[in-house]
Subunit: 530 residues, 2 copies
């Protein structure tokens, strides 16, 4: 489309004239192109014998194959405000909705979380044919709109941009959508509680996920995944500041990493390979190889036939591991403070995204303490017992008991995040360091958000002899983990770490009810597409 | 071990006395512990009937199970310098080498890229038994050393820290190494050219990789992987600054992503799944879903039986994709400038790492232009023809021709990085946008470092109809890519992007000769461990 560059004051008049001539030529070319394109398919031009005063101001652009290199003068929706009053702007966005109303039409443009209203009315440069063309554009098409920014007298409640609207003068379709959509964005973005007419028009989860490319366009999903990117960024920055090095761990491994259950196997040239269930062994090797403090972000795979709100067969692990000097609480403190920084960063830098999500899925703001609350496992059990739960002190927490404990902790300490330290040794993996004073306990911990586990970690055994002993106690065949054990034969500092489920952190921070809402393309036993 | 906190001047005398008493008690306890531990296994104590004046100042610490929570007062090797002259410091590091010399011993501590010399000599508090103990510690053990920082008269050429040494007064083993090492760190870190005695003691690549935990301890490997982490960081920061959002793409997919060859298949519950060969289709879906500009870092898998210096079956992809307004060169410019920022960031922030690697593997400094050089494919072919290569204008570049072209470009333009734009359509994947003016060419590009391809990218077809047409021309069965095609049915902005091989960037930036040097745990058809 034509580019309305402002005249540059440094240009001499000859340049100006040149530009003008060029523009006229461009407009003529556009008209010819438009006529060629629309002669048959666009019935607007055939309506009566009426002369179309808007020729060249609307139509379908030819498919962009990078025909022209032009300066980018488009404004983004998010940058539209009253400061642009009465200025001409060009916007590229989706057609969210449109309705004709006699000699004028209203249509809403959407880009990410933002919507703005446009008005087009029959006038000197706007024909009835043009109005009809605009009203016939399929929703979800990407269009270029040029028009004047006008400050509205009254707030436009239905749009996110409420104080201005655009009086459109040019409308071109950049990429047309099919007319029939498998789901309506308006339905997909409707607040859960909002059902004034009792119509219960919702989009069910499978329809959403089957048509994820449409579903992801809702303001809520735009906000969720921008915030999730923020979790990764804050995780990395908190650790980089503390001297951690990012490492990359292989996903193809030669033996099942943690005991053999729930692992995907595959043919690897002439032998068998497996998909890593966690990068833990590799993080530990990095520690034994003197990297000191490491983190890694990557997919982890669980061949577990769990069809719950919080299990995926592939999810993103945020993993870290660090050598410590005296006590594994040096690592617990680093991890706890890192979470505080993540929560603070989300609260302070993603307030708009949180508000957008809450508008559709209301939730209590996420509460956290600084420094974070750290309880011992047995204190947790005591709280549960006080609340009437019957259990042994060294029994693992069931999922309902974890949830209940979360509520009890929230009631008592007013925090949605806490650390539960010193788990019973028997319920932890073989490589967990036992407590030095009592064989019942271990130097291990879980961390919770809104009563659900989001991190599991421990001091690891860094001594080959003890590791063999503990593996035997767990009846793990030593030959399957020999190279892991060998990693500790040539000196290894004491170390501790943990693994975090990214999608769980996002889900629980936002108070969402299903992990499929925070995985862009979720994988579960029943879903492998799109 | 005992912690020598400096007396705090704010403490009253009673506190001081308390501390002193506590220290005495601690020392007594340590002595008792030491005696218990060393009575049998440590023959040093049995040598003659000599009284050991160093009891409690050396020995093997009990396995760290986080027995004590103590303040961390250890200094890191990298922080040792003349400003600490005559101060007492405690260091935890590896014993790199040691040699006894009568009544004294010299030993070198190593931590990451740093080494420092320690001296211990028989004296009032240092017994012969202690010297013997120190000389018997296995190399690669992790030890705690306490001692005085002493400025040396003469530079210590054999260490990275050359102006000071440590006069050790306490030596404790934190984690002992086995005495026999499968490779010697000194051999593994020896400069390639450095073979004064003609002994040719090298460590071959398989020995290195089989014992990667040891191999990774060399200063060169410490530097390589810290710099590689820097590549990821600089990539992300360059894109974040330009408004890109990080996304996560699934690795488990339901059909072979790019045509079906070279893909790992596996059983997924009751059906078949594949490992993604690239995140490209998902990046594009994110664009069709309005994320505008996205990047993703993750493993990509190629079941390709290539045993070359530059192929891996699993490597890390740095991928990006962006909507553009008019012309795909908007994306080419973003990518080109991003590389300039990465190269500048490495040069300016990783000079020590580069020097460390060059010390072992000499290479010319990496040269780049700002803005980067961009040639058209046919200009590249013309350069090759001038150099005597016979080839068609639309023939793909062979690997030797790519390398030669890299040398020709370097000679002519003095840059190790350049962009080759407008590849022949026939040699690119089906989803590549054809050139608008000439069906022979396409809107696609590769980028090169030192004559090897490190990025492949293009404007993608964002129109379902043209996509089907091109897939048919490539004889790809439409039903296998239906959901990909459907992603473009509901409006999609024109977009372009590319995928970068992380290990190749690191290898070529540093001028290394094998990609296994820049993958922490490399995977190839023959290697799946450790």
């Amino acid at each position: 489309m034509t580019n309305e560059n402002k005249e540059n004051s440094e240009d001499g008049p000859s340049k100006k004239a040149l530009k003008k001539a060029q523009k006229a030529a461009e407009k003529a070319a556009k008209k010819a192109e438009y006529k060629a394109q629309n002669a048959v398919q666009d019935d607007a031009t055939q309506e009566g014998a009426e002369v179309d005063c808007s020729v060249g101001l609307y139509g379908n652009l030819t498919l962009n194959k990078s025909q022209e290199k032009l300066p980018v003068t488009h404004k983004e929706l998010k940058d539209l405000d009253e400061s642009l009053a009465n200025q001409n702007v060009t916007i590229r966005a989706r057609l969210h909705t449109s309705r004709g109303k006699g000699r004028q039409a209203f249509f809403v443009l959407r880009s990410c979380e933002h919507t703005v209203q446009c008005v087009i009315a029959v006038g000197e440069m706007v024909s009835k044919q043009m109005i009809k063309f605009v009203c016939n554009i399929a929703k979800e098409s990407i269009i270029d709109v040029e028009g004047k920014v006008v400050v509205t007298g009254q707030k436009i409640e239905s749009c996110s941009i409420q104080d201005i609207e655009i009086y459109a003068t040019k409308v071109f379709v950049v990429s047309a959508s099919a007319q029939r959509l498998p789901l309506q964005i308006d339905d997909a973005m409707r607040p859960e509680a909002d059902d004034p007419e009792g119509l219960q028009i919702k989009v069910n989860q499978d329809t959403r996920l089957d048509n994820r490319v449409l579903d992801l366009r809702t303001p809520t999903n735009q906000a969720i995944f921008r915030l999730e990117a923020g979790v990764c960024h804050l995780f990395r920055e908190a650790l980089r500041m503390r001297g951690f090095t990012e490492i990359m761990c292989p996903k193809l491994i030669s033996s099942a990493s943690e005991g053999g259950a729930n692992v995907f196997g595959m043919k690897y040239f002439e032998r068998e390979a497996f998909l890593a269930q966690s990068p833990q062994l590799y993080k530990q090797m990095a520690i034994a190889a003197d990297f000191g403090k490491v983190f890694t972000i990557g997919p982890v795979f669980r061949a577990e036939n769990s069809n719950t709100h919080r299990h995926l067969t592939e999810f993103v692990g945020l993993d870290l591991e660090m050598a410590f000097t005296h006590h594994y609480h040096e690592a617990v403190n680093v991890i706890g403070n890192m979470f505080t920084e993540i929560f603070r960063g989300l609260r302070d830098n993603y307030a708009d995204e949180i508000a957008t999500v809450n508008h559709q899925f209301p939730a209590e703001p996420f509460k956290f303490l600084d420094p974070p609350l750290c309880l011992e496992f047995k204190e947790g059990v005591a709280l549960l017992k006080e609340a009437g739960i019957e259990m042994e002190e060294t029994e693992d927490l069931s999922t309902p008991n974890e949830k209940l404990l979360g509520r009890l902790v929230k009631a008592k300490y007013d925090t949605d995040f806490y650390i539960l330290d010193k788990y019973p040794l028997a319920v932890r993996p073989f490589y967990t360091m036992p407590d030095p004073n009592n064989p019942k306990w271990s130097n291990s911990y879980d961390m919770f958000m809104r009563g659900e586990e989001i991190l599991s970690g421990a001091q690891r055994i860094h001594d080959a002899t003890l590791l063999v002993e503990r593996a035997k106690a767990h009846e793990i065949p030593i030959d399957t983990i020999q190279s892991y054990i060998d990693s500790f034969k040539y000196g290894c500092p004491p170390h501790a770490g943990g693994g975090i489920g990214l999608e769980r952190v996002t889900m629980l921070y936002l108070g969402l009810d299903n992990i499929r809402k925070t995985s862009m393309f979720p994988r579960d036993p029943k879903r492998l597409t799109p």
